[in-house]
């Protein structure tokens, strides 16, 4: 990481931090008509809690990825700036499909909601992949101290993401609930696989 990239990363961190914290706004306080049975009502809205958990974990893992990959970057150019803006636009969008899925997963709208959620995460993963492929192809923006094997590791780690989310989005057409479970599972999987290539990064001369 150089001083040239530091401010872009700080701005990106800001958007990640705000998007992840705004998720709570979509967990709605029950109306006063539920005063007598508030306990049950607070349990009934469990999809909102689960949506909060899934999206918080997803954005959190993406932030960790974004943060560590940035350490491999030595310079930025105009295309990179635009690709990063595109990625942030997808990250900041996540609270919307999270709320839609949480509020409609138990209704007839479950399928459309689960597809929207999956489509958003697929596009986000693709934006991340485009960002990384642009930076890493021919080591375009990569710091020269980074060994090739680290680059290959990251590429291997990112490529399946959009396929996994795309698959879960397709699954949503037939089994909305199964796809919702898959979204949570993918976030957990990435949290663990991240740990692995992170361990490898630790061996690189930084």
């Amino acid at each position: 990481m150089t001083s040239q990239t530091a401010r872009l990363e700080a701005f990106s961190d800001g958007v990640f931090a705000i998007a992840i914290t705004l998720l709570i706004i979509e967990v709605h306080v029950p109306g006063h008509e539920h005063a007598e049975t508030l306990g049950h009502e607070l349990l009934r809205i469990w999809p909102s809690y689960l949506g909060y958990l899934t999206s918080f974990l997803t954005i959190g893992v993406m932030w960790i990825n974004h943060h560590y990959v940035f350490e491999l970057i030595a310079r930025i150019d105009r295309t990179m700036l635009l690709l990063n803006t595109l990625l942030l636009m997808m990250i900041a969008f996540v609270p919307f499909p999270t709320a839609v899925l949480a509020q409609f997963v138990e209704t007839d709208g479950a399928r459309a909601a689960a597809v929207l959620y999956g489509a958003t995460l697929t596009l986000t993963a693709l934006a991340f992949l485009a960002w990384w492929r642009y930076a890493s192809t021919g080591r375009r923006l990569i710091d020269e101290a980074v060994p090739d094997e680290v680059i290959d590791d990251v590429t291997r780690s990112y490529t399946p993401g959009s396929l996994l989310y795309g698959g879960a989005a397709l699954l949503a057409f037939v089994q909305p609930w199964a796809s919702a479970a898959a979204y949570l599972g993918i976030a957990g999987f990435y949290a663990l696989s991240l740990a692995q290539w992170r361990a490898r990064l630790g061996r690189s001369p930084r």
Copy 2:
């Protein structure tokens, strides 16, 4: 604190700052039907002000704790990243139970609301404790310049937190109002006890 931990702390600070500032969104502007008696209405919603005060103080104290403990940390690993994400997820959740408690403390829903608030703070305190125990056990992530007595001080200071909040949450089942008072009292207690171990920290070679 090292450069390795600096960005994680900056991201965490962002989430703390946003969560604490979002609290005001849940203090609702009265509807226009209250125009003629706006003064009384603004006084009637005092639980919202008190909830804002309690949660602001609670998150503020937790930020101060998080900030100073981070100064004792020399490195981070994957488990630490996940535990920190979990802690931030609890912190960012606080505006929700704050709003529920403020809006239902004077209704039949007071008990459920007070239990939800207490359960949230108990889980937050437990997430903080897990974070610290993981970092400090066997001095796993601790800077070598930090003396053992400082670590013991912090551990002694944190351990009762989850018990206090857990106790207040149980109290909520029988006395919602008393538990609400306890939440404010605990925040005040921590503000003061923080000052004490902070004074000790001041003696450590930083």
Copy 3:
């Protein structure tokens, strides 16, 4: 400013930046029933725009003050941490009275709304004054390179603030509109007087 104070200032900056940006949430989008006369409706809600302007300017000036005074501080202690948290709690509260005043200034609730706004700013100014008096009394937390005359300048500049806001809040009881104009006027006055002691600060050996 030292590294010890740097993180507290960064956290404070975050709260200031979020509070000032959240002001726009309280400028409400008209309902669809106004589609045919949207132009008139957008003009009719001018108090929301003026409230946005006044509070943005007020928080902006307070941030500038907070920022420059922090440069005179060499260390922080527990009382300072609590006073700063109190100040941030008032700053983050400002969007609420702003929305109340904007929505009720043309109704029977104008008086109560204007009093609430003035009371909030009076308390904010008092929190700022307490913060500064605690830091500056006997040069408790002041950097030794700062000459006494600079401290006296800042004290002279801050002291009238709470009186001005208190006076405007009292004025609200008899003339809500006049007090609303005063709030905007005070923000403008401070923007200018700030410039003056800032010019003096420029002469200090920093």
Copy 4:
């Protein structure tokens, strides 16, 4: 960029990051009455998505501009502080006209909504221009290492912005849809033209 300007830029970055992320709040979750036809409803609100895209791109490009121009600045003064606050006030205002345009573009209110959006962006561009002209006239606040030709480049790049937005706002009176398309087009145009003078900046001795 000097340490004197660093904190002002950090605060500005915070406001930009929050304003751009708050845009998602105005993409409203459909009501439960749309459960059976949620898929159609999610498609029907496409103006909200397009508004999100346009404003995200617009604020994103303005942030990139603000960021790079700040690198040419060596010092700040009181007028600069006020002009920067004014610019941030316009940036933070953008989510409001974005929501109005998205919700009324298919109604009789389209004209008023498109004019409001255009007027906001025109004022924002003017605030940016005033900021830059004040800083650059007679090289008032410019770092001495910056060659004159870079300053002229930036001036040439900024001047047409307010004219373009002003023209699109006038177009809104006769063709609301055409002006909405123009707002998106201008953001794209600036993303590209930015790349050009950025390339030139790269040649300057920084």
